[in-house]
Every structure is written in C-alpha cells, then in structure tokens.
C-alpha cells in the first residue's frame, strides 16, 4: 500500500488558535515564568526506567511475518526520511538521493516512495528541484545542526535560509546546554521563535536524547517541544552515540499520546540514527501501534530518519517478492 502525504494533514493540526508562544489549553499558563515552567516539567510523572526498557524489549519480540511483514516493509519505506548529512555532500549526491527517494526500487514500480529527503539547508534547493512533481518532501536541518551552539539570530537566519531554499520541513536542534542547566523557558522561547521563522514549513524538534542523560529528561523535553508548537519531536541528530533507542521512543510515544489526550493536538514522532535493519524498523512500528495507537502509523505522524535502512528494507522486499535472498549488489550504493 502507498501512503500519499496529505499536505493539509499537518497544517490543520500544526496551526494554533492562540498567539504564537502560548501553549494550548489547558497548559496556557505553565510558561508564565521560568519557575512555573520548571515546576510543571518537573511535576510530570517520573519514568519507570526498568519498566520502560522491559516494555520496549518485550514489544521487540513480536514476530511479524508474511503479509503483515510485507505491509510493514512498505509502510516503513513510505515513512523514511532519506538522509544525508555529511560535510562532503555535493549537489550530485543529493540529486542521486532524490532519485532514490522517488523510486527506491527501480525494478519494482509497486514500491512506494519515501516520505522526505533530509539534507543541510544549503542543499535544500537542489533537493527541491530534483523532487518537483512528486509527493516527496524536502526536510532541512537548521539552527546550527548538530550542536546547536550559535546565537539565536544565527539560528533563525539559518532557518529562514533553509525555508527560502525550498525546505518543506525544518529539523531544528534544541539548546541542550540550556535544557540541562534548567533554563527551560529559554529553550521554549527559542522553539517558538524558530516555529515563527519556519512560516509554512513544518517544524521537527530534535531533542538529542543521547545527551539528555535520563528518561525523565526525555519526557520533559518532549513536553517542552510540544508545548512550544513543534509539529514533530525527533530523537536524535544521528551524530552522537547513543542515538535513538527503543525505550526512548517509548517514552516519547507516551508523551505524544498523553499530549493529544490533554490538548487535542496531535504531534508526530521521528526516531533517527541507529535504525539500520528491517527488524529495527518493524520493532518501531509495533511500538508505535501499541503505545500511541494506529493513528500514528502514517508518514504524516511517524517518520524514520535513516540512510542505510532503506537498502535493507528493499532487500527484504525483494526477498518477499522473489522468494530468494537478495544481496547488496541489487540495491544502489549511496
């Protein structure tokens, strides 16, 4: 099955009825002061670390075979944000990635396109032109990715530049230094400012969970990003280890689920980094279905940030189609 991205799906949910920077009801007043915000975030229920890890591990043992596996593989392909974030990226490499994004398996026309191509902001226009006439979106990382260490003016200029270059989606990083120092309102204000600078582009907020140390912090950062108006929350930049893990995804899925229950606004989730095999991808889909629910099982609400994952998905897809094992000679070298 093929998911066609509904361009209005996120617009409706992403827009806020109130002034920018005001969290949705019933949380409108939690950001009235730094102390109030800290009290709110620290008042969120603590995460049961052992419980979360066991839950994620148990859900990872589900056996998904035959037709369910075929569905899962196609769904996963349609959720991939095909990513290249290297210093050595060239326009040629971005174009070849875009070609792969629109038609991942040139031998099989039934293979769905991926959700988006994710590049640095200066290459967004190359990706945009290469993807004209397709449903594949262009995501650009901004705000001094991956460290986020720059002044706010520079970060906002970075965002505006990427949007001007044609990015449909902006992947921003939060200021982990400020977050860990407890200056939550600074982080909040920055996300609000970036959201404003994004204009029509959707905002994904990268928490870089590998630097947040605890699951409690992951839950707080998730709520912070959602309250500030992020359309997606994203686990990691993929530049540091550990990147995305299943328990972290579980905590974040609980956050988006609880947030929608409380405010009526649905926020998407994008795990990124370290998801390399079809098995990993299917484990994530199971986790989504069992935690947030089937509403999130669409590229509008769940993405997989990856580069090498796509080739493994294609190999598994070929295996299901032909009945024999395929090999790396039968997919492109990225």
């Amino acid at each position: 099955m093929t998911h066609v991205l509904d361009p209005n799906a996120l617009d409706g949910a992403g827009s806020q009825d109130t002034a920018p920077g005001t969290p949705p009801e019933p949380f409108a007043d939690v950001t009235r002061s730094g102390d109030a915000f800290r009290a709110f975030l620290h008042g969120l229920p603590g995460v049961d670390q052992v419980g979360a890890e066991i839950r994620a591990k148990v859900l990872g043992t589900r056996s998904i075979k035959t037709t369910a596996k075929a569905w899962a593989i196609d769904t996963a392909i349609s959720m991939v944000d095909l990513t290249t974030l290297e210093g050595a990226d060239t326009p040629g490499k971005v174009r070849s990635l875009a070609a792969k994004a629109r038609r991942p398996d040139p031998e099989d026309l039934t293979c769905p396109s991926v959700a988006a191509v994710c590049v640095y902001g200066d290459l967004a226009d190359v990706a945009k032109r290469a993807l004209e006439g397709t449903d594949v979106r262009v995501a650009a990382v901004a705000t001094a990715f991956p460290s986020g260490r720059a002044s706010r003016a520079v970060k906002l200029a970075d965002v505006r530049d990427a949007v001007a270059n044609g990015a449909d989606e902006i992947d921003m990083v939060i200021d982990r230094g400020a977050f860990l120092a407890g200056r939550y309102l600074d982080v909040f204000d920055e996300i609000v400012a970036v959201k404003e600078a994004c204009g029509p582009a959707h905002l994904k907020v990268i928490l870089e969970t590998g630097e947040l140390v605890t699951y409690d912090n992951v839950r707080r950062a998730s709520w912070l990003a959602m309250l500030a108006g992020g359309d997606f929350i994203k686990t990691s930049t993929g530049k540091i280890s550990p990147a995305s893990t299943l328990p972290v995804c579980l905590v974040m899925l609980e956050a988006v689920r609880d947030f929608r229950a409380a405010t009526g606004r649905q926020v998407g989730l994008k795990p990124a980094g370290g998801i390399r095999t079809t098995k990993d991808a299917i484990k994530h889909l199971v986790l989504v279905n069992e935690t947030a629910g089937a509403d999130w099982l669409s590229p509008d609400w769940f993405r997989l940030g990856a580069s090498s994952l796509l080739n493994d998905l294609l190999l598994q897809r070929q295996k299901l189609r032909t009945g024999h094992y395929s090999g790396p000679d039968h997919v492109s070298v990225d």
Binding site: H324, Y325, S326, G327, P328, H330
Partner: protein, 288 residues
C-alpha cells in the same frame, strides 16, 4: 572410577568468527558408524545460512585484498594448529567413518598435508593461471586471476575431514570466502575445524561452517543473490540438478557433483581452485 563431573561439549556452528547455536534452536543426534550416540549437533536453518552469507560478504574485501603471501601464511598457520589437534580429529574421524585408529590417523595426516599443499598455492596461482599476453601494439596485456567472491560449499557426505579440507582449502586459497555446509551424518570434524580456524589468524567470516542438512540449506544458498559460486561436492544426487538450475538464475559459478564421491587422496591439481577464480585482463601502455 573418577568422581569428576563430565564436561560435556556443546556442538555449535562457526559463523562470522563466533560460535553461535542455530538461530532456530534445533539440534540433531549424531551417531558413530555403528549407530551409537556421539553428540547433539546444531541443525542450521536457512537464516543461519543467510547470516553466514552476510558474514562471508563482509569478510571478502579483507581476505581477497590481503596479499597472496599473507593468505598463504595464514592458511599454513591453520595446518599448524590442525597438527596440534590431530588426535582429536583422528578420534572423530574414526568414530564417524568407522575407521581403525591407524587409518583414521592416516586420513587426518593426509588432510593436514592437503591444507599445507593449498597454502603453498596462494602466491603461485597468478603465475600459473595468469599470463602476459602478446598484443599487436605498444601495450602490455596482462591476465590475472581474481577470486570470485562468496562461495557456498556443500562438503562431501562421506569423507568427513579429508573431503572437507579438500573442498574448503581451495576456495580459501583462491581468495574467496566460504559458507560451508558439513556432512549431515559426520559433522564433528567440521565443528573441530571451525575451532581450528577461529584460533589460527583466519579473519572471522572468511570461513563459516554450518552443520545440518544440505538438502534443506542448499536450495537457499543456490538461489541466494549474494552468493557468487557453489561447490556441489556433497549435494544429495537427486537435488544436484535442481540446485544447478537455481544457481543459473543468478549466474553463479557451479562446481558439479561427481557421480560418486571421488577418492580424496588423489592429487587434485587445480581443478577445485580454477572454477572460483575470474580472469581479469588489463591493457597498459608501454612506458618510454
């Protein structure tokens, strides 16, 4: 009678330089030539075979890229370690094949000698199979043999060590990496060979030894798009033709099954190395 507790061995696969149990968790009973119980060996599944191919593919660049001299040294080291394990090999061969102690030991010696012989060939293949070609122009024309890639080897069903060595060593000497399916009824020498390979400088993944039923595993290996060649030495006769047909689907090099299991003590010549070597010819301008 000793009151010491018996230390029983778990017979496992050799895959990617490690000794895992079969992914499927299956085992089967191995008996000696008279039907007495010897061991519970792992019965490899198609997914073990798949994992073995991934390991072999991963090891190929390093093994084929090593100098021929270095490969020869590593293979010779294997023979040295086999020599130290000769008594264990002889016991397993005697039990499995029903040979007397003396005949089993002679068979083990022949297997070790065969390994040394192949170790010596690594840096001579290019000289014997390659050539400097006469060309009508100011060019050099060279033809050099290069390893084919990942080779699936169905080891002989009867000769459990000499036969095994005679099919595995040539594949490795030529610079290929191997996924080997052992004899179904006589797998113990193959398991011990895995332990030898693991302790003799052979990089993990270069040789992967699966114990189990070739009739079950071979079709998956023959069809596998990432396997470049297949040696059908131990293929069950009714299946061999079918395997050759599926191997053609991905244009594999195929070494056919002989009508009967050959006498492995005979001089093999280059017959088992040549099929898994590709010839690359290059033109090069003659310098001034």
């Amino acid at each position: 009678m000793s009151d010491r507790l018996a230390v029983r061995k778990t017979y496992k696969l050799y895959l990617g330089g490690a000794f895992p149990r079969s992914e499927s968790g299956r085992t089967y009973e191995v008996t000696d030539a008279r039907g007495h119980f010897l061991a519970n060996a792992a019965r490899a599944s198609r997914k073990d075979a798949r994992d073995a191919v991934v390991a072999a593919r991963g090891a190929f660049a390093m093994w084929s890229g090593a100098t021929a001299y270095n490969r020869g040294q590593v293979l010779y080291r294997v023979a040295e370690v086999m020599e130290g394990r000769a008594a264990q090999f002889a016991e397993e061969v005697a039990a499995g094949e029903g040979l007397s102690a003396g005949k089993a030991r002679a068979s083990v010696d022949a297997a070790i000698d065969r390994w040394v012989w192949y170790a010596g060939w690594t840096d001579k293949l290019a000289g014997v199979l390659g050539s400097s070609n006469p060309v009508a122009g100011p060019y050099f024309g060279f033809s050099v043999p290069e390893p084919t890639g990942v080779v699936a080897v169905l080891a002989p069903q009867r000769s459990s060590l000499l036969g095994l060595v005679s099919v595995v060593a040539p594949v490795l000497a030529a610079g290929n990496t191997a996924v080997v399916v052992s004899s179904l009824e006589r797998p113990l020498p193959a398991i011990t060979l895995g332990e030898v390979l693991a302790t003799s400088d052979v990089p993990g993944g270069v040789a992967n030894l699966l114990t189990g039923d070739a009739a079950e595993l071979a079709p998956w290996l023959a069809e596998h798009a990432d396997v470049d060649g297949i040696d059908l030495a131990g293929a069950p006769t009714p299946l061999a033709m079918e395997l050759e047909r599926s191997a053609a689907g991905t244009i594999k090099r195929v070494l056919r099954t002989p009508a009967e299991e050959p006498d492995w003590t005979a001089d093999p010549g280059l017959s088992r190395m040549r099929p898994f070597l590709e010839t690359k010819s290059v033109w090069h301008p003659i310098g001034v």
